[in-house]
């Protein structure tokens, strides 16, 4: 059995796989943290200024919405290439994990922002009104009511974004970012090494599965409905 396996996975170099996995994890978590840093205020801004929000503002909502829509409508691979000058200016290289982070964040943050806007919209309006009647300021309503009440929804939004980022990192691999996607393309596709392809795909599936399970557990932990 072992012999058969080592015969079948003849091209798999465990050192190479480990290095690629760490690159993928680095891109994923680096981009995820920065996407939250950027996406949360953007999502709050969308929610607050929306027509049914706490402080409706057609102009601000329209502008934020446009930025989000533009960034979301460009396919990620194209966004990555389009952003190369920006990436160079920001981190000095468009290659490797560092070069992948800016386009990953600009691809994922608007996506996360929309999901956050939706999660905040799901908060029971009766709770918001009751908080208002208690004399809360708008700032207090956002920080003390909307965000805590939406917490399970926010965690679910981050989970979905993390999973989207996994596939973005794979695409980024195609254009020089390294990681498991890069491995799959260079060995699995260009050199017909099906075994490498298989291993990378299984690893990516395990990663996605792990993220979903962890996200679901956190949602259950913070939900009291």
């Amino acid at each position: 059995m072992t012999e058969f396996l080592s015969a079948f996975f003849v091209n798999v170099d465990s050192g190479e796989i480990l290095r690629a996995s760490l690159e993928t994890l680095g891109m994923l978590f680096g981009a995820l943290v920065l996407s939250i840093v950027l996406g949360l205020p953007l999502g709050i801004g969308l929610s607050v200024t929306s027509p049914s929000g706490l402080a409706p503002n057609r102009l601000s909502y329209g502008a934020l919405s446009l930025i989000v829509n533009v960034l979301r409508s460009v396919p990620f691979v194209i966004l990555f290439i389009l952003l190369i000058p920006v990436t160079l200016a920001l981190v000095g290289t468009s290659l490797g994990v560092r070069g992948a982070i800016p386009p990953l964040v600009l691809g994922a943050a608007p996506f996360l922002a929309r999901l956050i806007e939706m999660a905040l919209r799901e908060v029971d309006p009766a709770v918001v009104e009751a908080t208002q009647a208690l004399g809360a300021s708008k700032r207090q309503i956002v920080w003390r009511t909307l965000l805590p009440e939406a917490l399970p929804g926010l965690i679910a939004a981050v989970t979905v974004t993390a999973i989207a980022l996994v596939s973005y990192t794979a695409m980024a691999g195609v254009v020089g970012a390294g990681g498991l996607g890069d491995l799959a393309v260079r060995y699995g596709y260009q050199r017909f090494q099906t075994d490498v392809m298989l291993v990378t795909v299984v690893l990516i599936i395990l990663l996605v599965q792990g993220l979903q399970v962890a996200g679901d557990a956190l949602v259950a932990r913070f939900s009291h409905k």
């Binding site: 009104e129 009751a130 004399g135 207090q140």
Partner: protein
Amino acid sequence: MVEINTTSAQADLIRFSGLSKRFQLKRGHQDALAGIDLTIRRGEIFGIIGPSGSGKSTLIRMINRLERPTQGRVEIDGVDLAGLDGAALSALRHKLGMIFQQFGLLSTKTALQNVAFALELAGTGTASSRKARALELLERVGLSAHADKYPAQLSGGQKQRVAIARALANNPNILLCDEATSALDPYATQDILSLLTDLNRDLGLTIVLVTHEMEVVRQVCDRVAILDQGRLAEVGAVADVLLDPQSPEAVALAAHLLPRPENVASSELVRLTWFGEDRLHATVSGLDVWVSLHAGQVSHLKSGLYGDVWATVSGPERLTALARLRDAGLKVGEVAS
């Protein structure tokens, strides 16, 4: 800052004058309230009743400025609310408790944390003093055993009790109730209504209560305003409105409390209503008449007993009997000649 003076001798506490609210719709507009003049007195339980769309919720929400008038004024203790914004508005709201049909409790906080939340928002006390005060309030509404439960673990009536405790946290002297019992079963409704009556009596709390149920008004209110399509149809003491309704809307509400029995075809069927002790049999005894009761109730208004029955009065001295009943102060309605 708004100081609402509870000890003032002035009886009028809340005054609406010339109050109108127009909502702009996609096409045209809708007048939710049109020219309301109304005064609510200190220490009373004041009911605002009307069908949905009558503007009653809009009216009560004017008191804590969740809604702003298009025209007219709202004054609390002589202070015009028009100029209030920001911190002054927050200070006003800390002194006005409000409860809602859908409770509005934070699902991510326990009962205790929900009550303490009102104190946190107002910036009063330390964490431990807020907790002590919240426990005291939960005890006041009979829920101290459930302090650490989340709203999802409580019944509707219990949730509304938590909401009442939260509304009372900052020692308001006015409690606004917007359809507070409409989502509750009959038992929980009784429970909440008697709690409200107790609070009114023990704390001198002025309660403004919006409802679509005349039954609620009958049980707990001192006075009532009847709204219809944004206009004030009638306002008065509950007993007066029930016994001697002036407007078609009031007549309809009083009739709705005790519908005409459908299985009685007799032309001798009358509706008798009175305020105070039951005088029906004492008044007609000795006369050559038969009285049979078909439906009725003697119930407690806040101001005393209120009797309301459908009866057939028949026999040779029928008209004498009806005249005596009228003389005794009973109201005799729907008499076929």
